[in-house]
């Protein structure tokens, strides 16, 4: 059981998959490397958020996910 990375909305298309499991622990540098350059570029934009274990991070660069955690990559929303 590693860390589950979830790609939400348009990031799912960019990733070509809905989720991926990587070995924990996972920090910001590890995440950027795990997702590849196209998604990493998106992640570096301020308007893309990251949630770890169901909580949106105020500062995503301090990510410290452990085995069993779910890391969700959240691009800009559009509801209603």
């Amino acid at each position: 059981m590693g860390v589950r990375i979830l790609f939400l909305g348009p990031l799912r298309d960019l990733a070509g998959e809905q989720e991926r499991e990587v070995p924990g622990p996972l920090d910001w540098a590890g995440l950027l490397e795990a997702v590849g350059p196209a998604i990493a570029e998106q992640l570096n934009e301020e308007r893309v958020n990251v949630a770890c274990d169901g909580k949106v991070m105020a500062d995503k660069t301090v990510l410290a996910a452990r085995d069993g955690d779910e890391v969700a990559l959240l691009p800009p929303v559009s509801g209603g």
Binding site: G9, P10, P75, S78, G80
Partner: protein, 155 residues
């Protein structure tokens, strides 16, 4: 008709199939007999030229909880006696409902502002992602600048 049972004062739902607007509003109205004013907003998939279908995705761990926080914030800020916020997920066709909000307050100005506030936040500050299928395939919908401006009004 069979009366729908709503939770009071806040009824917040994610729906994976159609919603009966008349029934929901009749139930909301009945649940808030003491309110002087009730405002509702219904958003539907616009049959715009080429749009064949619309898909809304969400994030299980955040979306419903975020909507509940939003409804509570509106309740507190506008002194409501009740609020309803229902949002569709999944696949919809033109003309189908996407979102229904209703607000009940003693005075109409509060009910109007609260419904407006809920919609501005559901549009651009809730965890939904929307894409449209047109004849040339699927397209993700980016939030519009106008939506961001609408949201700024409440800050």
């Amino acid at each position: 008709m069979a009366r729908l049972s709503l939770s009071a004062p806040l009824d917040v739902r994610l729906l994976d199939k159609g919603l009966s607007v008349g029934e929901a509003l009749a139930a909301f109205n009945a649940a808030h007999g003491e309110a002087g004013g009730i405002v509702s907003f219904l958003g539907k998939v616009r049959p715009d030229g080429d749009v064949k279908a619309l898909e809304l995705s969400h994030y299980e761990k955040l979306t419903l909880a975020g909507m509940k926080d939003l409804a509570q914030a509106a309740y507190d800020r506008f002194n409501l006696v009740g609020a309803l916020a229902w949002h569709r997920i999944g696949m919809m066709r033109p003309g189908e409902p996407i979102v229904l909000v209703a607000t009940a307050a003693r005075h109409r100005r509060n009910a109007f502002e609260a419904a407006d506030y809920l919609m501005d936040h559901l549009k651009s500050a809730a965890w939904f992602w929307k894409r449209e299928r047109r004849s040339d395939g699927w397209h993700w919908i980016e939030p519009r600048d106008r939506d961001r401006i609408d949201l700024e009004r409440w800050k």
